[in-house]
Symmetry: C2
Subunit: 444 residues, 2 copies
């Protein structure tokens, strides 16, 4: 008998990789934070002695979801700016609120709320973009959440950095601080390429290549963004990045709702990746990312919630639902993306987009044990004729009972083990009251 | 002090009717199953002596949702027929399964599961269409759920009725049986108008006028349906119904994803109603109902989940989310339908579509106390800057803690009071196993 730390036994297991989409009565064995085996439960019980056995008899166990694009701290603004198109929403409403209120304490409180929400929703990894990335990194590390923290790169002065030089300097220091950390990594996160000059973009590209970290930036989010780039630079944003030699496997093009076929071909040829944020794009009227056409070209496509101020939550399971409905409904062609395709986008593809495909996103021995588990024995999800379809179309993130990050049982049978949830909720409501009072509003 | 049965006190109340969309710290007083007052909690405590006081300090209280179109018993086929376009999905997959398996026991077990799901999701009223409507009516009455039961009207013989004559005969008997019932009413439910001849449709129209009950039928669900009507009758379905004088306030046109502007004008002029089933229509690739254009013309538009075999659940809150995202995202115009519009569709408009606008759908004294309550103090819904936006975009039916139908507390702090939920789930799984075994499938 071999010794392991944990054996998680579930009615169904969705490994995401391999030939069989759903395994029945299987177990995942975990040792030192990593998956050591995925095998039938009966065999697992004879092969392993486990410190802890977790039995989930009506549940599906799968890789934790990867939220491949968000701005975690914006949870504090959930519902604060409704019914506006993307450009005015951002520039006339969100930025002024943020200029007034955002400081390290705000970022900490908002990010902790976001991590509580995501762990409850089975998300085990998120890619962030927000000022004070050091605060985001610390919150992730302390609360045992995997994160790729965005090194903000903004030309204009902000309370966090006086300009691009200081952004880069602080970003590189942060990258060094977390080098080799098992949970927290970094990527460059220029807010919008059109707002940076050619030299700045080239500099970011050079540094990203040296450090081998991604550059994630919103790209072709809306028609307005493209017009602005054309008026400032005479080029569509993707065309400009191509001329700056930025189309590479390290580029993560977030949104891409506006894409000519030749642009998709260019992304595919360069090996660049995309993050599809369906709910944010719909709600802000930005457009719809042609995710199926991208996947058909071999482009890595992950799913992102974008900002909770936009969409209004960090619920990857709900984004899967929307992505699947759009893929069938917009072309009027069911089966364009099937449930297993969407599950893969929300897990392994998201990990691959962030350069983490070797360490998370599927249930393969050697990867970190980043897992989540949903109870399907609920009237709205039962009976289960088809596990992936039930997950995508008939379950809710609120059915997630357990989440493990690197083998650590962070959500255990509905309880967050390492977060003082009451305190997090109270601090969030205090921010809500402060911001509303500052604007003379109530929340009714 | 006046005596009432129940006082429900909530942090927020959304009455749906009246000038103020959200009231803070208000209470609903209930006597003999009806709302007697909606007033500030402090005032309620001095005015009323209540047998029971229900305090919901982080919750929003609102009218129960109305699922204006479903086929409840199809919960047993949830996930059984994926990735098919609407016509082949129905005719090549669902109908053959139903011909083999559907009997009164199947209808009872599937409908009970559906009612458990809907009450857990805050739905207090559903419009159904399924063979054995007598079984559906009995299940609704026994489990204390409001229903408008569809009197199936099919020309072809089924195990339930040998043809239209028997459908009508059984339907009229059922209508008589429940005449005056406080919970269960009826409507005619011809499955598809193109499958009935002119005389049959005229007969249904005459009977509906006499009984003053709606005629709900799928109409312009897909391009294929329109083509079939044109080839069989030389007319688009709506045009044919107009010639048969069926466009009236009693007509409920379900789906309407294919609609010319002149057809919308005709529906509006006739005072006919529409049910928007966004998830079913997307998933089956049928199209998208132009709900905002309809509401702008004064057409009553409710929300329906359609069949759980299609979409794959009976989650009206999730349909609201999809309807709101589509209304902003498809035209690229946020604010086309705001959160309060969508909430109204899911409650009062749905009731009005079914002819029940005077008795349910909003929190008005004299109406039945059909209520639901959601706990918003969860990381994914908190903080609350905007109650309607949080409901529509950042909450889940799984946050519904309480549901009342005609004042009866059917879901009480997360527990279904009048349903043996374990038995319902077990019977559903037995059907799943039987159907899968019959087809040589497993559910993995």
């Amino acid at each position: 008998m071999e010794t392991v730390d944990t054996l998680v036994c579930a009615r169904w297991v969705v490994p995401v990789e391999g030939d069989i989409p759903v395994l029945e009565d299987h177990a995942v064995a975990v040792r030192s934070g990593r998956i050591v085996a995925l095998l039938p439960t009966a065999a697992a019980r004879t092969r392993y002695v486990a410190d802890e056995i977790v039995e989930r008899p009506h549940h599906v166990l799968l890789p934790g979801f990867v939220n491949a694009h968000t701005h975690a701290a914006t949870t504090l603004l959930r519902g604060r700016a409704e019914n506006q198109p993307v450009d005015t929403w951002l520039e006339d409403t969100i930025w002024p609120i943020e200029r007034r209120w955002v400081d390290p304490e705000y970022v900490r409180d908002g990010t902790e709320l976001a991590i509580a929400e995501m762990l409850r929703g089975g998300v085990t990894c998120f890619a962030d973009a927000h000022p004070w990335p050091d605060v985001v990194a610390r919150a992730a590390a302390e609360l045992h959440m995997r994160a790729s923290v965005g090194l903000a790169a903004v030309g204009a002065p902000t309370p966090w950095a006086a300009g691009l030089d200081e952004c880069i300097e602080k970003g590189l220091a942060l990258h060094d601080e977390y080098r080799g950390d098992p949970l927290v990594g970094t990527h460059f996160a220029p807010a919008a390429s059109h707002a940076l000059d050619d030299a700045s973009l080239r500099r970011i590209r050079r540094l990203a290549d040296e450090l081998e970290i991604p550059v994630a930036t919103r790209l072709h989010e809306s028609a307005g963004e493209i017009e602005r780039s054309q008026s400032l630079h005479g080029l569509r944003p993707l065309e400009r990045l191509a001329r700056l030699d930025m189309l590479s496997p390290l580029l993560v093009a977030v949104h891409m709702t506006q894409a000519e076929p030749a642009e998709l071909d260019a992304l595919a040829a360069a090996g660049a990746a995309v993050v599809h944020c369906p709910q944010s794009n719909l709600k802000l009227g930005a457009g719809i990312c042609p995710a199926a056409s991208m996947l058909a070209r071999g482009i890595r496509v992950g799913l992102g919630t974008d900002s909770a101020a936009a969409n209004n939550d960090l619920d990857v399971l709900s984004e899967m639902h929307t992505a699947a409905l759009l893929a069938a409904g917009i072309p009027g062609r069911p089966g364009t993306l099937v449930a297993t395709d969407v599950l893969r986008m929300a897990t392994l593809e998201g990990a691959r987009v962030l350069g983490l495909g070797d360490c998370t996103g599927s249930l393969v021995p050697g990867k970190w044990a980043d897992l989540c588990c949903l109870d399907l024995r609920k009237p709205g999800s039962w009976p289960v004729h088809d596990v992936p379809a039930t997950l995508v179309y008939a379950s809710s993130s609120r059915q997630v009972t357990d989440t493990w990050v690197a083998g650590r049982h962070v959500l255990a049978d509905g309880t967050l083990r390492y977060i003082d949830e009451t305190a997090v909720l109270e601090r969030a409501d205090a921010w809500r009251a402060r911001i509303d009072a500052g604007d003379g509003r109530s929340n009714a």
